[in-house]
């Protein structure tokens, strides 16, 4: 059947101040793929991820995620909770909640029962190697550990797509590599489709495929 998880057709995103952040983007992402979007700052990487992830709507063009055209989706927050996991660059976690509680937040959006949520959170923490950090709050965790928790949270509802906007951006190179290795590992074992933006060629080298973005356009496929 359909092996495509994401299909973006002629995406343009213009802001009110006249900035065209994305200009006629066509992009297909296959199920299970680990795609890296590489590009200089201001090239439109975040804008593209936001549109693919159902957080922002394109000015023109269509986006299909897992067969659904996003402009037809009434309840985008429900859609995000079910289909997409997010890992951001910084301040991903709610500082007053501990690791396990942060991981439960997306499950909470799908009204999962408390006991089931807790069990799943522990499972995910074990998966990302933080079994012994269950009740640590973000201020007690290192930068790499926080990103691990964010990754676990992104996987909470078994999404078909995990999006990472410079997930290694603030980490030292060594930790950054570990995080990417973890994501790659999860991508292989769980089979989640992974789309990650980065400035870091080292990160990009791990990808199945690299897309280069420049001033809102895709400059080359790899």
């Amino acid at each position: 059947m359909n092996r495509l998880i994401v299909s973006a057709e002629g995406i343009t995103r213009a802001y009110h101040n006249g900035v065209v952040a994305l200009d006629n983007i066509n992009l297909q992402i296959e199920k299970g793929e680990f795609l890296v979007i590489l590009g200089p700052t201001g090239s439109g990487k975040t804008t593209l991820l936001n549109i693919i992830g159902g957080m922002d709507r394109p000015t023109t063009g269509k986006v299909f995620v897992d067969g659904t055209e996003l402009s037809r989706v009434r309840n985008l927050s429900q859609f995000r909770a079910e289909k997409v996991g997010f890992v951001f660059q910084l301040h991903n976690l709610i500082p007053t909640l501990n690791a396990a509680e942060n991981i439960q937040l997306p499950m909470c959006a799908l009204k999962m029962a408390s006991r089931k949520r807790k069990r799943r959170a522990l499972e995910l923490l074990e998966m990302v190697g933080l079994k012994n950090r269950v009740s640590h709050t973000p201020p007690m965790l290192s930068g790499g550990e926080r990103q691990r928790v964010a990754i676990a949270r992104a996987l909470a509802n078994n999404p078909c797509l995990v999006i990472g906007d410079e997930p290694t951006g603030t980490l030292d190179p060594e930790t950054g590599r570990e995080i990417i290795a973890l994501m790659q590992d999860l991508n292989r074992t769980v089979g989640t489709t992974l789309v990650v933006t980065t400035h870091d060629p080292g990160v990009a080298s791990k990808a199945d495929r690299i897309v280069r973005l420049e001033r809102g356009s895709i400059s080359n496929y790899n």
Partner: protein, 378 residues
């Protein structure tokens, strides 16, 4: 079942994480609630005590002058008492009371009820006399316990009024009704003389024969004397509430509205700060799929929790204030600290309203965030 537990956890942690601000907000709401609890309790006590003072006459019906607000201005010919008593078979007994307020000195006033000495047992029971005896003839006076406490006069001495008038203190009574215990009782004739109202009474108290229907007597007397208004005693409480009572009500509500406004502004301020500080957090929650309804519940939940805590503190503060105020000698004669659950229910409702109103706009604003914008916010 308990699916929203994480939402409550988040609300609670946020309150705890901003401990000082939360505490000040709770205290602010608490002060508002305390004002409301105290003022309402004092006002309702005042009313209750005042109404009780009329019930004390044990009369079945009370006649006052028609067309007046309150009863203090009422003036009826004393001669009517005898006429009514002899004219209506159903009336077993009738007597008159004259209410007056006299200056003892420049700063002290004394409320006096003038009664016929032979009818004194209709007002004060024998066993309510705690010292001395009741008035028996002209020139005597008895004081309520509270009035006695501030009078500085002992039994056997004279209570001196202005213009060289004096009455001999022969006894002290205590009824438990703080309003009456702040009164004095003196012979009708003396009170009439001191107030220049010879031959007049404020009200006529009617005692009916057992089994008599009050309605018939009311119609008959009001027909005979259209200038009189005759009411069953309990109704006098409502009808004859003096002008001051309405002002007490207006004052109560005025103060409550100010207190509510203060509380709403304080809560709205805290919640607005809380929302703008957590812009990114709210953006993350939205990104990972929390609905706008959930975000709304998060903010409103916090303001409601703060206001319920404020209600708790405010109730304690309010009770403290009521006890503090009523223990002061100047007011202790008029109001005793009696707490009414109704007041606390109203205060709880007001606290919840405060939380809702104060949280409404910040919560609404939070739901209008675009997750993209909120996540760009640093």
């Amino acid at each position: 079942m308990w699916r929203e537990e994480l939402l409550f956890t988040l609300i609670w942690r946020n309150i705890r994480a901003r401990r000082t601000r939360s505490l000040f907000t709770i205290i602010g709401i608490g002060v508002s609630i305390a004002i409301i609890v105290a003022v309402m309790t004092l006002a309702s006590d005042f009313k209750k005590e005042w109404c009780g003072s009329i019930i004390q006459t044990k009369a079945d019906l009370i006649a006052v002058q028609r067309g007046l607000t309150g009863i203090s201005g009422s003036s009826i010919d004393e001669s009517l008492i005898g006429k009514i008593e002899s004219k209506y078979d159903d009336v077993e007994h009738a007597t008159g009371f004259l209410l007056a307020s006299l200056s003892l000195s420049d700063i002290q006033a004394l409320n006096i009820v003038g009664v016929r000495p032979e009818d004194s047992d209709l007002y004060i029971d024998e066993n309510q006399i705690i010292e001395g005896r009741f008035i028996q003839r002209e020139g005597e006076i008895v004081l309520g316990k509270a009035a006695y406490n501030i009078s500085g006069v002992e039994v056997g001495e004279d209570v001196r009024f202005q213009m060289d008038r004096k009455l001999k203190l022969v006894g002290i009574y205590e009824t438990g009704n703080t309003y009456i215990d702040n009164y004095a009782i003196a012979p009708l004739v003396d009170v009439q003389e001191m107030t220049n109202r010879q031959g007049k009474v404020t009200m006529i108290a009617l005692y009916l024969k057992p089994g008599t229907k009050a309605k018939g007597v009311i119609y008959a007397i009001e027909d005979y004397r259209p200038d009189l208004k005759v009411m069953p005693t309990p109704e006098v409480m409502e009808e004859a509430i003096p002008l001051g009572m309405e002002q007490v009500d207006a004052f109560t509500w005025g103060l409550s509205v100010i207190a509510i406004a203060m509380g709403v502004i304080g809560t709205a301020n805290t919640m607005s700060l809380s929302v703008s500080e957590r812009t990114r957090e709210i953006g993350i929650l939205m990104a990972i799929g929390w609905s706008r309804l959930k975000i709304l519940s998060l903010i409103l939940g916090e303001s409601l929790l703060l206001s319920v805590a404020g209600f708790g503190i405010g109730s304690l503060l309010g009770i403290g204030a009521v006890y503090g105020i009523t223990s002061h000698p100047i007011v202790s004669g008029y109001i005793g600290p009696s707490l009414d659950t109704g007041v606390f229910l109203i205060a709880l409702a007001i606290a919840l309203l405060l939380g809702l109103l104060g949280g409404a706009y910040p919560a609404y604003r939070a739901t209008r965030f675009s997750p993209v914008e909120a996540l760009r916010y640093e």
